[in-house]
């Protein structure tokens, strides 16, 4: 029952929210679409929170996605034991960074001006990412070789989700901590459209190709052919 909830109901629910509510928010009101940075108010502990958290989570997330997209390539890469050990160690290191960062990010919210600008959404989000980092690191330490088993448990199950034919059997035998990690992941996806987490959806990359100064002309026919 719990398995069905975590591996079938919650994922579809979360994906639906993310897919439908996020654009709604984008088109109805973008005035609250922001990182809601608190560096301006408090920077000393943010430094130790934001940097490890982001460098950790961006790379780890990328790892998850690469494993999902190219399972067979990764599989052959990991058949070399030393490669597996090296990659697992790097992943664990990054995981510890996210854990460390997420603890700091949460703790710094408890006092002073940062507390005053913290909304319920922020509390929920920060708590979720802390739990997510914690369960991830726990698996890295005690449910070893996750890179290996991820490829033929979670990945096929995720594909089965995509084909609208969820095969819970792939993952139902895994330990409870894995189930919590999955639940956490989809809860984060579910709250995405309701929190500041939307900040990473539109990566600012246009400017890499743009000239430095941007003009906008009120007049409709642009007089300048530039």
């Amino acid at each position: 029952m719990l398995d069905v909830l975590i591996f079938a109901v919650l994922p579809y629910f979360a994906i639906a929210l993310a897919i439908f509510v996020t654009p709604y928010r984008y088109f109805s009101n973008r005035l609250d679409w922001s990182t809601f940075s608190t560096q301006f108010l408090e920077r000393r502990s943010l430094y130790w929170g934001s940097i490890p958290w982001h460098y950790g989570v961006v790379l780890i997330l990328a790892g998850h996605i690469i494993g999902f997209l190219f399972p067979s390539t990764i599989q052959s890469l990991l058949s070399d034991l030393s490669a597996l050990i090296a990659l697992e160690s790097i992943a664990l290191g990054l995981g510890l960074m996210t854990l460390f960062g997420s603890i700091i990010l949460l703790v710094r919210r408890f006092s002073g001006v940062v507390r005053a600008v913290t909304s319920y959404a922020d509390w929920v989000l920060l708590l979720l990412i802390l739990l997510q980092a914690a369960t991830g690191v726990y698996m890295g330490l005690f449910v070893r070789w996750g890179m290996e088993w991820y490829l033929h448990t979670a990945v096929p199950w995720l594909y089965s989700l995509l084909t609208l034919n969820p095969q819970i059997g792939f993952v139902s035998g895994l330990p409870l901590v894995f189930k919590l990690h999955v639940a956490g992941a989809f809860l984060i996806l579910a709250v995405l459209p309701f929190t500041k987490l939307v900040h990473f959806l539109f990566l600012p990359l246009d400017y890499l190709k743009d000239p430095p100064i941007l003009y906008r002309w009120v007049r409709r026919e642009k007089q300048l052919g530039k």
Binding site: F36, Y120, H199, L208, V218
Partner: protein
């Protein structure tokens, strides 16, 4: 030639009283909101002094503006890729305390305090958290040289720090500042989201509140620290040059309310094609290079080129009447603030002359005063002014001051019924006609001579006011800024 129009403000520093009326006018209209309490889009600071935010001119600390590297002009802090690497935490961004912690007073305590031997007091409380705070710094904390050993003495433009403690040589003046609506705005270039833009028609630089995601690179990149981060809405904000007013040919709130009548607003035409060249000269040549790209609005060829670029006739006429063009280009008495930041600022300052009574030791009595002291005896050191207004080129400042001195000497003689000495004008490269015009501009010029702002004629621009704005509350907030669960 790519002729564009720009709205420009000029400040005559000799006349600024430091009354802060302009700041209040601005705050009442634009920044009297939660998250914006600490912002002063228009602020007036005492020079020498720390300024607002504290020591904003010190780019060793804030890394704002551009630098010339070989044949490239680059943002001082980050290139495009290092922007991405520093996006999670910005090393050079000013913090709240660099401005000040906004506060109010717990007035209710005056009524609610229980009976006691002492009078109840209204203690200061933070406007952000509501907690009691100790006020350690505030807006214009160092006004009129207060706290000099802490603030004025550490002014980065000051060579001779002791001047602050030497009563006989002490000097000060006021420096009102708004966003300069630069021609090469560092804030625009630094924004990875491309939320900041320069309006083609009038050159006003704006932050699109719908596009801004709060990455805050603009705050760091602006060397004048004139983009502010709103901690409540999570977006950056800045001076909007009162565009809803200028679009309808009204003067900006700060200019309109200026008690000292020190401000001038007008159109200039400039050649956008030559911008690049003008940005790549040595520091000492910057003022001259900046002047050269400003075009003569009476020149037929330039007018034709401007028209082809879509500059309306009313703007061309306004450019001819523009006091900004006269002060900056024609008479060359108005100078840009810190041109060495290479943003090519579009506000200009007539450097202060007063008090002409020089220093204590060389005090002129009233008779001597007729002669008007020479440059060396002016109280404000030329060196200091040159660091503010000409990237260290003293000649540029001396030329401007010489004109102001000649103007005074000539007009004073004239008003006293003496025969004025035209020689002194010629030495300062002025003639009688120019002098009369300058005199009028600096003294009795009417509202419409000081502010020659053409309407943007939005009604003809074929852009219907957006539906979402209709019936709205004006600038910024259409819906509630803060979302969440």
């Amino acid at each position: 030639m790519d002729v564009r129009a720009q709205l420009v403000m000029v400040f005559n520093l000799d006349k600024c009283l430091g009354c802060h009326t302009c700041s209040i006018a601005c705050k009442n209209i634009w920044s009297d909101r939660r998250g914006a309490e600490y912002m002063w889009w228009n602020n007036v600071e005492t020079k020498p002094g720390a300024g607002y935010p504290k020591f904003w001119e010190d780019q060793r600390k804030y890394k704002g503006g551009w630098v010339l590297k070989g044949n490239y002009v680059k943002l001082r802090a980050f290139g495009k890729f290092s922007t991405l690497l520093n996006i999670f935490y910005q090393p050079y961004m000013p913090k709240l305390e660099d401005y000040y912690h906004p506060w109010t007073y717990d007035y209710a305590n005056l009524y609610n305090a229980p009976e006691a031997d002492d009078q109840p007091v209204a203690e200061p409380v933070s406007l952000i958290s509501g907690e009691k705070i100790d006020i350690e710094f505030g807006p214009n904390w160092d006004d009129d040289l207060s706290g000099s050993p802490l603030y004025a003495e550490n002014d980065v433009n000051l060579d001779e720090r002791r001047i602050i403690s030497s009563f006989g040589k002490l000097f000060m003046f006021y420096l009102p500042r708004i966003c300069n609506h630069c021609l090469n705005p560092a804030c625009v270039a630094a924004c990875p989201q491309r939320a900041i833009y320069k309006r083609g028609e009038d050159g006003i630089v704006l932050v699109d509140q719908n596009t801004c995601r709060g990455w805050r690179f603009c705050v760091s990149a602006c060397p004048y620290k004139k983009v502010y981060y709103n901690w409540n809405t999570g977006k950056s904000e800045k001076c909007i040059f009162c565009y809803p007013r200028t679009e309808t040919a009204q003067a900006n709130a700060c200019a309109h309310s200026c008690v000292g009548r020190i401000r001038y607003v007008g159109v200039i035409l400039y050649d956008a094609d030559r911008l690049d060249v003008a940005l790549k000269v040595r520091d000492e040549e910057l003022v001259e290079a900046q002047r050269r790209i400003i075009l003569d609005p009476k020149d037929e060829m330039i007018r034709r080129a401007a028209k082809e670029n879509g500059v309306p006739d009313s703007w061309l006429d306004a450019a001819i009447k523009s006091p900004a063009y006269a002060l900056i280009r024609e008479f060359e008495v108005a100078l840009p603030l810190h041109p060495e930041f290479r943003t090519m600022p579009m506000t200009f300052y007539v450097p202060p002359l007063s008090p002409v009574l020089a220093t204590q030791r060389i005090a002129y009595d009233v008779e001597d005063h007729e002669a008007i002291p020479d440059m060396e005896h002016l109280r404000v050191p030329v060196r200091y002014l040159s660091k503010l207004f000409s990237a260290g080129n003293e000649d540029v400042v001396v030329d401007a001051l010489q004109k102001l001195i000649a103007l005074r000497a000539y007009m004073r003689a004239k008003n006293l019924g003496e025969s004025p000495d035209e020689q002194i004008l010629r030495k300062a490269s002025l003639d009688t006609g120019a002098t009369e015009r300058l005199y009028r501009l600096f003294t009795v010029a009417s509202y419409h001579e000081r502010y020659t702002i053409p309407s943007l004629h939005r009604e003809y621009l074929d852009v219907a006011p957006s539906d979402e704005r209709r019936g709205g509350r004006g600038f910024g907030i259409i819906a509630k800024p803060r979302g969440g669960l």
